[in-house]
């Protein structure tokens, strides 16, 4: 695990535990991945798999009051983020790495104009005057397809899709090197989703930004990502290039995810969901966290630590079947 494939972003053994009502919530349990410059990784998984927590841990904006324990290492361009003093981290946030939040309805401050909210980030990270920052904000709004004369309006005057564009404009205002997009399209209807994804792709190419795309939508992954990390119960259970994952899904959970998608070609009356529910993060099962729902689970799955097996090239899978089948 110590080799650094990429010199841009490298996450090693990230662990985040929350406390809630006296119990420990094991949200993220040893996540490691790398990301090259200009690349996009998709973090895919069900609600509660720890995707957003991973993102917030990278930004170091986890809710202080409920975090019990974090460990691991995050290096961005050789700089270790986890041990950085808060004021230095503050200077990186919004400039080196920034985040598009999940829910545009609540991510904008209702009492500030959208231009002010975008300009604030610009002023914090660049030595510019107030009016220059506002000009930049208007430029960003135009870039995401909002007319500059709406700059002085408040979030409540915008529709959901436009709010999401504002959130995106805000995240991109300082040309971040790493953009974390936390389900940027989940709150939007399908027509707007396509527009927003296209826009993110365009901007990414224009600014050669690296991106972490968090989603539970495999369609979004297909459209935007180079590599995919499937997360389950706070672990990456399968990792590979988009082609690896889409063409050769190996982990029974990944296979289940694809089976749960509606297929236009076969006329199945019902979808085939994955039976059962994600495990309780306060009480994770022994061994493989997916074993209670896995049709192939054996006694060996229910004890010990399941290792990460290489399937082929960069394609890895945390399942003992992968070891038996492929090695």
């Amino acid at each position: 695990m110590s080799e650094h494939r990429s010199d841009f972003l490298s996450v090693r053994d990230l662990v985040v535990h929350y406390h809630s009502e006296g119990k420990t919530v094991k949200a993220v349990n040893g996540v490691s991945f790398d990301l090259g410059k200009g690349e996009t990784i998709g973090l895919v998984g069900e609600t509660g798999a720890g995707k957003t927590t991973i993102a917030k841990a990278l930004m170091r904006i986890l809710p202080v009051h409920s975090v019990e324990h974090t460990e691991g290492s995050v290096t961005l361009e050789g700089k270790e983020l986890m041990s950085l003093p808060e004021h230095e981290m503050q200077q990186l946030r919004g400039r080196a790495l920034s985040m598009i939040f999940q829910d545009p309805m609540t991510a904008l401050n209702p009492v500030k104009t959208v231009a002010e909210q975008i300009a604030e980030a610009v002023r914090l990270h660049n030595n510019v005057s107030r009016s220059q920052a506002l000009d930049r904000a208007k430029e960003m709004l135009t870039m995401v397809g909002i007319s500059a004369d709406r700059a002085g309006e408040y979030p409540h005057q915008f529709s959901g899709g436009m709010k999401q564009r504002v959130v995106i404009a805000m995240a991109l205002a300082c040309d971040p090197q790493l953009l974390i997009a936390d389900e940027p399209t989940t709150a939007l209807d399908v027509t707007i989703q396509a527009q927003v994804l296209e826009m993110i792709n365009d901007l990414k190419e224009k600014l050669s930004t690296s991106m972490i795309m968090i989603t539970h939508d495999l369609g979004v992954v297909a459209e935007t990502c180079d590599t995919v990390a499937v997360t389950y119960a706070g672990q990456i259970i399968e990792y590979g290039t988009k082609e690896d994952i889409f063409d050769h899904p190996t982990h029974p959970y990944t296979v289940g995810l694809f089976n749960a998608l509606p297929n236009m070609n076969d006329n199945a009356a019902r979808l085939s969901p994955i039976d059962g529910l994600p495990p309780d993060p306060t009480n994770l099962p022994q061994g493989c966290a997916f074993s209670p729902r896995c049709p192939y689970a054996t006694d060996a799955c229910r004890k010990g630590v399941i290792e990460n097996y290489t399937v082929s090239g960069v394609h890895t899978c945390r399942c003992i079947r992968a070891a038996k089948e492929e090695v």
Binding site: I61, H87, L92, F101, A107, P110, V111, H125, H156
Partner: protein
């Protein structure tokens, strides 16, 4: 916005008219009248009857109400006090600045101490600083202000001789009354600020601000606090409006001739004109303060401002569509 203010000002007319009629009626039905108090216990029934007749207290309800309203509308006067013989309006005007001084400084003190205390408690929620400030403010809320006022007098006036104990001969006479009056407010505002801040401090937009790299102090004061202000403004406005009507206990303890002391004496003496004048004055100042509070809401929260503007816009639309209908018909 101007339309909204005009509408609110016009609305004050029926409110004040209602208050005037109500307070007159209440005083009419309250047993006892100023004559017995003016003449004292030694007066004979015949004397009392004569004076009563002279002062017009034997006239029917509607006649007296009419005289009262005419006096206000035509002569812009509340009449003279039966007890002191002075003009009620002039008396209120001379007492108002004293009450305003106490009320305004109490509110300022509550704001500049209460809000930071509450924010500090919210930031450190469920940790030592929170527990300490909430414990202290619990004492502040539950302590009766007359008792606190007396304790302050004992300490700072009688023991230390730093400040005068009563009267209003200079600015230093107001320090103890303002402090005694403000403590409850400080504690109340601190507790309200804490709970209001706790509601917004974990909001997504606060996290967004952090994710932009905004320093924590700015996150709290510029992103979280403005969103937590509405209930705080409501409470401050309510307290201010109430205190402009007189801080009765404080005025009594420190012998400050304010509006509250005047009203209490007037009620005890059945001094009809003084009571009616004071109550109308209180209704007026309270309405004005509430209007100011609503305007501050609009300043703080653009959504509320949009509502105010929307109301008048909607009306205009209805009117124009009404016109269209009548043209069609």
């Amino acid at each position: 916005m101007i339309r909204y203010v005009l509408k609110r000002l016009l609305l004050m007319i029926p409110i004040l008219a209602g208050v005037a009629i109500l307070i007159f009626t209440l005083m009419y039905f309250v047993p006892g009248d100023p004559v017995e108090i003016i003449l004292g216990p030694a007066a004979t029934q015949a004397q009392v009857d004569t004076v009563r007749e002279e002062m017009g207290f034997n006239q029917p309800y509607l006649v007296r109400l009419g005289t009262f309203l005419k006096e206000i509308l035509v002569n812009h006067s509340f009449g003279n006090s039966y007890i002191y013989g002075t003009s009620v309006g002039a008396e209120l005007a001379s007492r108002f600045p004293k009450t305003l001084t106490i009320a305004a400084f109490s509110i300022i003190l509550s704001t500049i101490i209460g809000i930071p205390l509450g924010i500090n408690a919210a930031i450190h929620a469920n940790k030592a600083p929170d527990h300490i400030s909430m414990f202290v403010s619990m004492i502040g809320v539950s302590m009766p202000n007359f008792w606190l006022a007396l304790m302050l007098v004992v300490l700072f006036a009688l023991q230390l001789h730093w400040l005068p104990s009563s009267g209003d001969k200079g600015w230093n006479y107001y320090i103890l009354p303002v402090v005694a009056n403000a403590v409850g407010g400080i504690a109340g505002i601190a507790r309200l600020t804490r709970s209001s801040m706790l509601e917004v401090i974990h909001a997504d937009y606060v996290t967004t601000a952090r994710a932009k790299g905004v320093p924590e102090r700015v996150v709290i004061w510029q992103h979280a606090l403005p969103n937590a202000l509405i209930p705080i403004i409501t409470m401050l406005g309510g307290r201010f409006g109430g205190q402009l009507g007189g801080t009765v206990v404080i005025e009594q303890v420190f012998s400050i001739p304010g509006v509250g002391a005047y009203l209490i004496n007037a009620i005890n003496n059945r001094d009809y004109n003084a009571v009616q004048g004071s109550v109308l004055y209180i209704a007026f100042t309270f309405s004005v303060v509430m209007l100011l509070v609503d305007l501050v809401y609009a300043y703080v929260d653009p959504r509320i401002k949009a509502q105010y503007e929307g109301q008048s816009k909607k009306k205009r639309k209805v009117r124009s569509s009404g016109k269209a209908v009548s043209q069609n018909g």
